[in-house]
Amino acid sequence: MNEIPVGSKARIVTYTQHDSFTERLREFGLTPGTIIRLLRKAPFNGPVEIQFRSSRIVLRPNEVTHMLLERIA
């Protein structure tokens, strides 16, 4: 997640671990195959806002270690 520049898109390939956090991500609709777009980063290495379908969520990139992403644009 840290490597995706603001404004670009990525596809969720899979999750490398199953815990309550990755379960919640999937319940939010971030299922494998979903395309996300990184909308913005908060200043000073803060959280990022990502958009997928009609949702916007914020999370800390260094806490999303088990989501395997593939850049597409």
Binding site: E23, E27, G29, P32, A42, R53, S54, V58, V64
Partner: protein, 631 residues
Amino acid sequence: MPSIPDATPSHTPRLTVALVGTPNCGKSTIFNALTGMRQKVGNFPGVTVEPKSGEVHIDKITTRLFDLPGMYSLTPKTPDEALSVAVLHGEHDALPKPDAVVFVMEGTNLEKSLFLYAQFAALNIPTLVAVTMIDGIKASGGVFDDIAMEQALGVPVIGIVGHKGIGLEELREHIALRGFSRPEAAENHIPVGEGIEAQYEWARALAGEVAHTPELDSLTTKLDAVFLHPVIGPIVFLAVMLLFFQSIFAWATPVMDAIEAGFGSLQNLVDATLPAGIAQDLLSRGVIAGVGAVVVFLPQILILTLFITLLEDFGYLARAAFMVDRVMGVFGLQGRSFIPLLSSFACAIPGIMSARIIASEKDRLTTILITPLMTCAARLPVYVLLITAFVPSTMLGGFLSLQGLVLMGLYFLGGMSGLLVAKVFKSTMFQGTKLPFLMELPPYRFPTWRSVFLTLFHRTKQFLTSAGTTILTLSIILWALGEFPKHQAPPAASPIQAASLQLEHSALGTIGKTLEPIFAPIGFDWKVTIGVLGSFAAREVFVSVMGQVYSVDVSESDENLRTVLRSAISLPTALSILVFYVYALQCMSTIAVMKRETGSWKYPALAFGYTLLLAYGASLLVFHCARSLWG
């Protein structure tokens, strides 16, 4: 006398209906529209964390409705989700399993709602689906196919536009006539137990079939470009906060003056009609002065509540949480803690309860422990009294009031100390694995006036109830403690001297004097000590106690009390009192709610202890520094 049975016994048993849905789906708006003023709000305003209950009356049929906290799935991750799930399973201690459910779906984000429905359908509770914001679907050129949806879900579906009232009458009729059915009636298979991916696949396919919506609403995108802009965003945030604190001072004054004048004339009326004696004294100086001194602060509390409600309903609070997450991270907390902490500026009670949105138990407990350091509205009366008495009403640069800035400084002191305390707790008691930060940014929405009005109405009701019960009782007790035992003043004494001597020899005076040595190092004499002790039940009592100990009719005009205080209290003592109130947890309701929310006396005891220690320490420091500066 035998009791008379109800003249019209109801033959149909009362139905209990729960409102279920994802967070931010518009449930609260529907709840407000259906129940109106007939709500039994669990005493506390703020975010929907305590299930609110209310009644719907249609054709003499009464239905009990309660609003469950929003949830994303039936596998709860936060305490408020756990509450909703427990109720739906009939496993909650206090709330009954609902007979039926009104499942609220967000029209502009159906996927998430339908996903929740796929899990919820397993419970097979009689259900009725209400789809909100169908105008949003139509505005973006989409169509809403309620018939296809009914077939797929197996339950009746009603489209609603909350702020225009469309569909609400139909919804009321359905509830009254029990137009619910069980999800098992669905024509096609609902993937109830097939895993998240299969459930989402079903939800997406169905959402695409029944409503065509654009990916994102453009208003939210445009507004976020400003509110979350790396430079403009923080400036807007600071401006909102500044406006927040300035408005409390500037806008409330005219109304407060009017309330003061009202209580003053009431007191004069009592003095003029009742014969002089204990009854007149009790009513005039005990009841009216005591309650009046507190009711005067209603306008400020309402402005504060209005601000927080508007920001919350509009969707700005979630953005603020996103922006401050980095800062909160420094103190070991997450952006989510910002919402309970900001609510605590109105009152710690809704703050403590809304901490349920925090998934990590350690973060939640830390947040709860520091909520008392956020300056709640009950401290305002104390601050306002002392600031207006001791700080000149200069305008800096012609528009910034110095008094407002001092007030903001006190808020800042409390907030900053709270965060530092959080850091201490997080690196000692509550260290270890933390749950990741994850939050949804809801689309911006214009608050419905009806909903805002209801929040203010309930807040007023709650405040006046407290003024009419707790504060009234305390005022009478304090009045009695100050009046008895009777002291015979020397005949030469003026009435004011007599009143002062009476107080000094009363039970209250004795208590104050006994405890004076404890508070003397921080500059409190026995009179201030009485005020501070009275405040341990509720902070705002300080003002009326000060009025009593200095025998000033507070309700006639605060100006009198200010003049008296200026000559009776030194500036170092005034500063010491202010700092004491910044830290001390002087609120019985907060302690009770903390006990309930944490399930043990350990945390309220800890909070009470550490805040008292901080209060005493900080006052000691401020008093001695100020005394060496200004002698």
